[in-house]
């Protein structure tokens, strides 16, 4: 059987034109997806059933036992942390928010360690953006800043920018210019029309210089700014001003380097400035296929995109205090539920030391680095493969992922709903 128009649950591009060939409830071939997506669709080595740590060993337990364990853990915790959420569907994220509210926990998603600073910048100056199709059909200038789509979002170039067809571009490949700004010559830089190489940590200065040039203050620019020559800066600024439609896509190279959210703020203000001359937009290259959905769900349900603390009953948001890394580093939380992410692979050592000391339940189809820290792991269906549900693309477009095969695994939503029901029952007693 071939499933058409399947939705790839890997990165924020959320490609929805995938063809998946299924035989005997196994994926045997994947067409249209990139290497990352294909690997995910073909992925095997899932955990067979829930496991419980028993001394140095793992013991198989039933799903009911695992769910009961998690519910009891959360109910008896004083300050539970519910973390992850970017690798699951929106319906599960909604249940997660209700659970956090019920146990007065902290709920945070992976954006606190990726595009969190971008969100802080947006909260200061706003976000002039657009859907990916607007760029595809109109943009004659695309800038990748601190992002390397060839490795991280392989089909971004072919679906939306460099190699995409565009309604208003006669010969899109020739008429569309691509600028890459980075500290090293990446694969993406090789296919750019202009490569701007910045000394590490110099992004803020380069953005400020471009803003000055766009404002007509060229005479204030020194001979070089963070390793970029004045001539090149002027050339880039002119390319921007003369474009009919420009689009900036930035990645963690801008968000997580020196300056952090100030870099993003500066980039957004450059785009707002350019909007007085021509059409310009800016957007983040979001990582997980549904990290943006997690921000959206949290926002409509609690008012904030990530890092929400319910310990006072109300939703309280203070990134740097109510975000997962901080709650762990301060050894504050006394239990953790991890859903759809792998913090052990990404968090600082100090956080992991604390994670090792507290009860942890993880919902994840595969054994991962966090498994080593778990007391219980519940393997679930993979959204987009054996579970369906809503995901939000990096530009905010919501798409319902398809189920391409059937398995006995429960979805995240089903597991969490059962957990939440037990918790509600216990609270009513």
């Amino acid at each position: 059987m071939i499933v058409k128009d399947a939705v790839c649950p890997f990165c924020g591009c959320l490609c929805d034109d995938i063809e998946v060939e299924v035989e005997d409830d196994r994926v045997v071939a994947v067409t249209n997806a990139c290497e990352l997506g294909t690997t995910k669709f073909m992925g095997e080595k899932r955990l067979k059933g829930p496991i419980l740590r028993d001394g140095d060993e793992w013991k198989d337990i039933t799903c009911d036992e695992a769910i009961r364990y998690a519910a009891d853990m959360l109910l008896s915790a004083e300050r539970p942390l519910l973390y992850g959420w970017s690798g699951t569907h929106g319906e599960a994220q909604c249940v997660g928010v209700h659970m956090a509210e019920l146990v007065r926990g902290v709920i945070d998603n992976t954006s606190s360690v990726c595009h969190g600073p971008s969100i802080l910048a947006i909260q200061e100056v706003g976000h002039p953006g657009c859907t990916l199709g607007v760029v595809k059909n109109r943009a004659d200038l695309v800038i990748y800043w601190g992002s390397n789509p060839i490795d991280a979002h392989p089909r971004h170039l072919s679906r939306y920018t460099r190699y995409a067809e565009g309604f208003f571009l006669e010969n899109a490949f020739r008429d569309r210019k691509v600028i890459v700004v980075d500290v090293r010559k990446t694969e993406t830089a090789n296919i750019a029309d202009e490569f701007v190489r910045i000394k590490p940590g110099g992004d803020y200065a380069v953005l400020s210089a471009l803003r000055a040039i766009v404002q007509g203050k060229t005479e204030t620019i020194p001979r070089t700014v963070a390793g970029v020559t004045r001539e090149q800066l002027i050339r880039v600024a002119n390319l921007c001003k003369s474009a009919k439609f420009g689009a900036v896509y930035f990645g963690l190279g801008l968000t997580m380097t020196r300056g952090k959210y100030k870099n993003i703020r500066n980039a957004i203000e450059l785009v707002s400035e350019l909007s007085r001359h021509t059409k310009f937009t800016i957007s983040a290259m979001r990582g997980h296929y549904n990290v943006y959905g997690s921000n959206e769900v949290n926002t409509w349900m609690t008012g904030y995109p990530f890092g929400i603390d319910f310990s006072r009953g109300i939703a309280f948001y203070n990134p740097g205090e109510t975000t997962a890394v901080d709650v762990l580093a301060r050894k504050e939380c006394d239990a953790a539920l991890i859903v759809g992410s792998d913090p052990a692979a990404h968090f600082p050592r100090r956080c992991l030391e604390h994670l090792a000391d507290i009860p942890v339940v993880q919902l994840d189809p595969y054994p991962n680095a966090t498994t080593a820290f778990c007391n219980v792991q519940i393997p679930v269906a993979v959204t987009g493969i054996d579970a369906e549900g809503t995901a939000y693309r990096m530009d905010g477009v919501p798409i319902r992922t398809r189920k391409v095969l059937s398995t006995d695994y429960l979805s995240d939503r089903e597991v969490l709903s059962r957990m939440y029901a037990l918790m509600q029952e216990a609270q009513e007693r």
Partner: protein, 566 residues
Amino acid sequence: MTELLVKNACVIDPLRGINAETMDIAIRDGKIVEEVSDAAEVIDARGMLTLPGGVDSHTHICGTKVNFGRYMSPEDMRAGRTPRRGPLHSTSGYSVPTTYGNSYRYSVMGYTTLLEGAMAPLEARHTHEEFIYTPLQDTMANTLFDGNWGIMEAIRDGDTKRVAAIIAWTLRAVKGFGVKLTNPGGTEAWQWGKNVSCIRDPVPYFEVTPAEIIRSIVEANELLGLPHSVHLHCNNLGTPGNYTCTLGSLGLIPDLNKKRQTLYATHVQFHAYGGSGWKDFCSKSEPIARFVDMRPQIVMDMGQVMFGRTTTMTADGPMEFNLYRLHHEKWSNHDVELETGSGIIPVIYRRKNLVNSIMWAIGLELALLTKSPWQCLLTTDNPNGAPFVKYPEIIALLMSKKYRDAEFATIHPDTAARVPLPAIERELDWYEIAVMTRAGQAKALGIQDLGKGHLGPGADADVAIYPLRIDEVDPATDYQKVIDAFSRTEYTIKRGRVVARRGECLIDGSNATFWVRPKVSENYDMGKDPDFIEKFDRYYTVRMRNYPVQEEYLNRNRCIETEARI
């Protein structure tokens, strides 16, 4: 079977011509019935003012831009928050509350039906997801067609039936309710950083004018037999002198429908400005009201501005950019491929600001100068003019000259020379307020036959009982009592259950979503049209099969089928 009897209610039910009669309301299984058994639970309304549940025919509560308003505004989220309590979830936000915040606060004010004013088709799923978490009101969404490529091409080709066919396909796909035009043509021009100044400017590339878009889509709307008329946010919002553009747009509209208006012009306050610039900015509410008085085919809503902080959000991207250049606050914009766009900025309307003072006066003038309350409905274009929690104050202002004068004394002193408000003596009565907040809104939306906006047998049992005796309160002088009563019902009843009592919501409900499926002939099924399919595949970034909103996204599914004439 559950039964409820509301006794001794002082009922105003304009759709049935009932004006302040003391009567009982019988409810069985969520519907109003003739009578109930003795076993029914009884609520003694003790002569309190009892109205059909409130209907808001233009509000922004759910969807991409509303949520982005929250996302970018933690300061607004902090400005209003309540903890989880009993069956109620926590809420955050003042001008753009979380979905639960919207739902609980509207419910406490007696509102039971809400129309989201602007849903981009491509992002419709998001609106429907948020509807699920708006539990205490029935919901429906106006769907944006202002910059739709397929439609503009069909208009250029003079093919109104194809326009109708594209609307039909889209409404069905995105589970939309009505047709919304926001700055028609302007949202497409804005994707090049441009705008259209009024109805005669051609849209870049497509070479159709806003006037052609409006006229053609109005015709298409009637070909499809949709319950609601076209819902128009005119071009040129917010600029001095724009009233001529507004009159020009309203003048395009023939009278095509016997049951309701042919055009719903929204937040007309923002479109009723005189002057050649900000220096001689003034009210032009009079010519607009007079124009509407003579045309039964037009219904408008106020779009009242109230002083204080709020967040503006609209599909009108270029207007928001202009506002950003005036206010220098944070600015967000979100263009949507092949369809529309949106913009958001926070604003503060100040009494000490002359322009803001004039805007405040214009909204009130529109309501007071328009003869029929059925033609000027009460809204703030929530949250653009003010958050909806200000409705009770607006009601009181419309009912009391004394209150208006007291407020007028606190605003910019030059306002008097620019607006007719001080000379207007009219004070609206309870019946007119009932029209402007529920009956008129239900009629304009075309949902009275679906049991909304009235209390006749067969209607949905949505009832608002306010703690106020109209024979004891003189609204002209006791305006604070009017504000208090409309801020907090004694009982709000939704689908036959008491959902709010004296300012507290009592249960977690489950809403219904109304949407429209026009039945068109095979030839006009765009799902099978090769040209439509080809363009979709080439220029959208979502596959056509993944575009429609599945029925899983509808809590209670109220599909309205219409017989289209194509």
